[in-house]
């Protein structure tokens, strides 16, 4: 596999062509819009609470941009399902660690699921921002989300 094929793995190209969870859903508990001013990539993410209002049921998103930024949002959508805020934070941290691994990490599949396919991005400094856009949006939205505290 060439570096380029390592960057644009089949699963990434699939997700960029057929994005999952794309389309904003009504009644979010928080929303964040993130823009990469250097290339104009943008992603808007919404967080949706479950019925108990203590957990994140899912995210919805929309955006425009390169294959990496859009596939990353799509892969993230599949990962962030029925999680506590702490679990979401742990996944964002795992993703960030993967992005800064300079090609040395395969990624934690238990936490990140198919999003580990984005591991190849970590070799391309200029593209880490693209891949991180949606995750940063979730992080930002989560900081502003109002969830019922659980003990």
């Amino acid at each position: 596999m060439s570096d380029l094929e390592g960057l644009y793995r089949e699963v990434i190209l699939d997700h960029s062509r057929f994005p999952q969870g794309r389309g904003l859903v009504a009644d979010p508990i928080a929303e964040s819009h993130q823009l990469n001013p250097t290339c104009g990539d943008e992603v808007t993410v919404r967080l949706h609470a479950d019925a108990t209002a203590t957990r994140i049921a899912c995210v919805s998103w929309t955006g425009n941009g390169c294959a990496i930024s859009q596939a990353s949002a799509s892969l993230m959508y599949e990962v962030l399902v029925e999680l506590s805020p702490q679990e979401v934070t742990a996944r964002i941290a795992a993703f960030r660690e993967l992005m800064h691994s300079k090609g040395q990490s395969e990624g934690d599949e238990e936490l990140l699921g198919d999003a580990v396919a984005l591991a190849g991005v970590s070799k391309y400094v200029a593209r880490i921002k693209c891949a991180s856009l949606a995750w940063v949006a979730v992080e930002d939205a989560l900081a502003r989300a109002e969830l019922v505290a659980t003990s």
Binding site: D3, L4, F18, D27, H48, A51, G63, G65, I68
Partner: protein, 471 residues
């Protein structure tokens, strides 16, 4: 050194540039011999920044080693030498753009040059600069005219000036062919127009604007003309006196020079009345605690320590350009630009912005590959050692006008070969197959990726129907 100075000085009369002549020139550019990702570097990002010949690198290094000293102060030998070299460089670069030495102000870049004018006018609008500056003062209701194709550097400073003075900013439209709409220009430029700011050559479209026509429109109503010459000074003969513009900005690093140096041209009579922008040391005559008197231009606009080695190196850069010959560079670039546009225009699923095949353009082209984002196109090309620019190229309004966020731009210079143009064309042909984009639209309702069954997330009962804001 592959080409000695005396040889180069004879080149201008050596007939048109050819691949063979370019091959000789390339020996002067160490960077062009490099490789990227296992491929020979194909550098097609010269409109962003040019590679530098040894002669320029040597001039900067020679100054640093042998002449480093503060200019316009100190009485020792080195200080004298440094001042002489600095001022000789000013004369050299001024001559290169058809101006007198005292009409050329060193700046850090073209952006600073344009801001210098905008802030000078702003200061005049506050009443600074006395009677000589009154002609520059703007008031509410005055108009500043720009174009839709301006680089942000020749747009944002004018927006800010308008905001500070109450003037209105208006923009000449760009046609679908990427030309300025001259009827619209004639309509916009009127009695209220005080400033017309436009680019000579578009950094995205490659369009060459009719400077004389636009300048005449502005001067007819007494407006000042600011020309952004960043994309023209490197690649065509430029005579600012002949063009008759009032101000112009050039960028050193786009014309074989180092970063950190640019220049503002201003007609002598105008610079004499314009209040300063940056103030401090080196631009004064008498300073008391209460007030200061200023030096005449150009020193009035050069506060603080100057970029001396860069200015000296920029003079070496224009020596190099002159030795090759600006006519030859212009013609070679035009040939490369046409080859690029012709090749791109033949491809399916690809749109070139700007003048069509056969219309005069500079040696660059920005394009959109249907179904593939510019960032991905650029990555694919980079994997083959081809350096292009992706994004909005500091022209968001222009991209918006064409309904796109980002494009891929390939730009040539005097050291570019036809093989390099063919290499990028060949690589671009591979983009859509690699990304699996066929002719079909990709917006259709999408099946899940085969290897990634999509879990249906448990959506809370309050969640309503999806509404894609981009639909």
């Amino acid at each position: 050194m592959s080409v000695v100075h005396d040889d180069r000085s004879n080149q201008a009369s050596a007939g048109p540039l050819s691949n063979a002549a370019v091959a000789t020139l390339r020996e002067d550019f160490p960077a062009l011999a490099g490789s990227v990702n296992g491929h020979p570097l194909v550098y097609l990002d010269s409109a962003a920044t040019s590679q530098k010949p040894r002669q320029v690198l040597d001039a900067e290094r020679d100054f640093a080693i042998n002449h480093t000293s503060a200019v316009h102060r100190g009485a020792h030998t080195l200080a004298g030498e440094a001042t002489e070299l600095f001022e000789a460089a000013r004369g050299r670069v001024a001559g290169f753009v058809g101006a007198h030495a005292d009409e050329l102000v060193w700046t850090s870049n073209a952006t600073e040059a344009i801001n210098l004018v905008a802030y000078g006018i702003s200061n005049a609008s506050l009443g600074l600069g006395g009677a000589a500056a009154a002609r520059f003062a703007l008031k509410a209701g005055d108009e500043i005219v720009v174009t839709e194709m301006e680089h942000h550097a020749n747009l944002v400073p004018w927006q800010e000036l308008a905001a500070r003075t109450g003037a209105h900013l208006r923009a000449i439209r760009v046609t679908d062919d990427g030309l300025l709409d001259l009827d619209h220009a004639a309509e916009l430029i009127g009695d209220r127009t005080r400033i017309l700011a436009f680019t000579h050559v578009s950094n995205v479209l490659g369009t060459i604007n009719p400077v004389a026509v636009l300048t005449a429109l502005a001067h007819e109503v007494g407006a000042l003309v600011m020309l952004d010459a960043c994309q023209s000074a490197p690649n065509r003969p430029l005579n600012l006196h002949e063009l008759g513009v009032d101000f112009a900005a050039v960028s050193g690093h786009k014309m074989l020079g180092p970063t950190g140096v640019g220049a503002l041209y201003g007609r002598a009579e105008l610079l004499a009345g314009l209040p300063p922008f940056l103030t401090g040391g080196s631009m004064i005559t008498t300073v008391t605690i209460e007030k200061s008197e200023y030096l005449p231009p150009p020193q009035r606009f050069e506060a603080g320590t100057q970029r001396v080695s860069q200015a000296v190196a920029l003079a070496a850069a224009v020596d190099y350009l002159d030795a090759v010959g600006l006519d030859r560079i212009r013609d070679w670039e035009a040939q490369l630009g046409q080859r690029l546009v012709t090749g791109l225009a033949e491809m399916d699923g690809l749109t070139v912005l700007g003048p069509g095949d056969g219309v005069e353009r500079a040696g660059l082209a920005s394009f959109i590959v249907d179904g593939v984002h510019a960032h991905d196109v650029g990555q694919f090309l980079d994997d083959r050692g081809i350096a292009t620019r992706v994004g909005h190229h500091c022209t968001q309004p222009l991209h918006r006008r064409f309904g796109v966020i980002a494009t891929t731009r390939a730009s040539a210079f005097l050291y570019t070969t036809t093989d390099e143009i063919d290499a990028v064309l060949d690589a671009v042909r591979g983009v859509r197959p690699f990304f699996g984009v066929t002719g079909q639209p990709t917006q259709a309702p999408s099946p899940s990726p085969s290897q990634a069954p999509s879990p249906a997330p448990a959506v809370s009962p309050t969640v309503a129907a999806r509404s894609d804001v981009n639909a």
